[in-house]
Symmetry: C2
Subunit: 273 residues, 2 copies
């Protein structure tokens, strides 16, 4: 059923956890993948976390992951600017994790918004009006806009929360400028980074996530098989009505764990004793 | 030159003051209008001030104004909802002044964003992410959006600041919903309120402000003569290139004061001694 799946690309919010709460079966499913000696990459549109922060969050849920196995939009955005505009000066509108990734990649940061040639927008849970105003001034003085992602909402502890689209909308609406680059899923910047981290080709991987618009759409664009989990933002009705149908629809990662356990049993039964 | 101007409708930000700084000549011009026994209304798109707050700010600059002489979008928005949807429950995304006006007009306020049938958006200089999120949830649960105004920027103490368009953009972009009603200039809700406060017809008034898109456009729509001051957001080049040319272009309210003083002299010279 999952034959030739040597690499598992797994979304985080709504797939592995919701807010501070691990989703049932996530840790066990990942353990099962590792027991089969398959590769894993956690691929998230979160741009306000650094890899280190994400690693700690996963560890607290009983999931071990190396930095190489975590691919966030904060990371990929920093890599993108370092590669395409190595002398740039960026102004950041986002939480501390974004800054950590920019510092660790050695991307230049502007001292004042007026000096920036890029405004980088991500989710900003500590946002204030003063932050919005600095970002506004950066763009009014000529900074181009790059967004880690453009998700509208993410599932949190007590319901859905406003995501990066809110921060983007504020700046775009008030300046009249548009976003030049979006890094996050479903952009293939993200699948490229995930496949590179695993050193596997698309057809040997499976992408698992809770969002039709980001996870499933990315799989379809990149030629990666797709599994939608219903533990996040998508209902079964929405999944079945989708024009781009996922290859698998699972209640949660618990289903993956069961499938892997069955495969293991079949394998043991069919192998000569 | 200003004959038959019995009512002066005067914008605030960029016309009377910029941030906490009074603009030269503003207090004297208003004094001169009062000496001629003409009527004055201060008409501002500010929705985050209450009339009381505005009265105190003007007083600190040596300008006396009654509550009736101050027409803000916070006031006019509260009046609009009270008149058109008397049993409504509003959720407010804006500074304290908006709440003051809603309370003084007896407009119902929702206890939780999910219960609101209107989300009211204005400038919010104390904005946090949590505030954005509550507003987002109000709209996701069916609240319609009303905005006090949709200005993109206002002139402050150290440059231009992001205005209501930023707050609107955040919610509209993240929810995919649009704004149902905009109260502020150039909407004629504002000229209607100003003319009612003075009890004068449009042709007997002059509207003075620093914005082509809001003050001058409102005058043209309402049949009120217009004077653009260059003390705010518009340069002389922009003023002269405008498709809707103002009737007068002045450096600041200082020019109005000189014109009124000259009229006074002409009047004294021509009257029999």
């Amino acid at each position: 059923m999952l034959e030739n799946a040597d690499g598992y690309i797994i979304d985080l919010d709504g797939t592995v956890y919701r807010g501070r709460q691990a989703i049932d079966g996530a840790a066990e499913a990942i353990e099962a993948i590792r027991l089969k000696k398959k590769k894993v990459v956690f691929l998230s549109n979160r741009g306000n976390y650094s890899r280190k922060m994400c690693q700690m969050k996963l560890k607290a849920m009983g999931i071990e992951a190396s930095e190489r196995e975590i691919v966030l939009t904060s990371t990929v955005t920093a890599e993108y600017l370092k590669r395409t505009d190595p002398l740039c000066k960026a102004w950041l509108l986002g939480d501390e994790g974004l800054r950590e990734e920019f510092l660790s990649h050695g991307v230049g940061l502007a001292d004042r918004p007026e000096e920036a040639n890029w405004l980088v927008i991500t989710l900003f849970e500590k946002l204030t009006y003063a932050d919005l105003n600095s970002a506004f001034r950066a763009v009014r003085h000529g900074a181009k806009i790059i967004a880690t992602n453009e998700d509208k909402t993410f599932p949190g502890d007590d319901g859905d929360f406003i995501d990066v689209a809110g921060m983007i909308g504020a700046i775009v609406h008030a300046t009249g400028e548009s976003v030049s680059v979006v890094i996050g899923k479903p952009s293939t910047f993200m699948s490229d980074a995930a496949l590179a981290a695993m050193d596997l080709s698309a057809e040997r991987c499976l992408i698992i996530g809770d969002s039709l618009a980001s996870d499933i759409a990315l799989g379809k664009r990149s030629g990666i098989r797709t599994a939608l989990v219903l533990s996040g933002s998508t209902s079964r009705e929405q999944a079945e009505a989708a024009t781009e149908r996922p290859d698998f629809i699972w209640e949660s990662l618990l289903d993956l764990r069961s499938i892997l356990a069955e495969e293991e049993m079949d394998c043991q039964l069919s192998s000569p004793s």
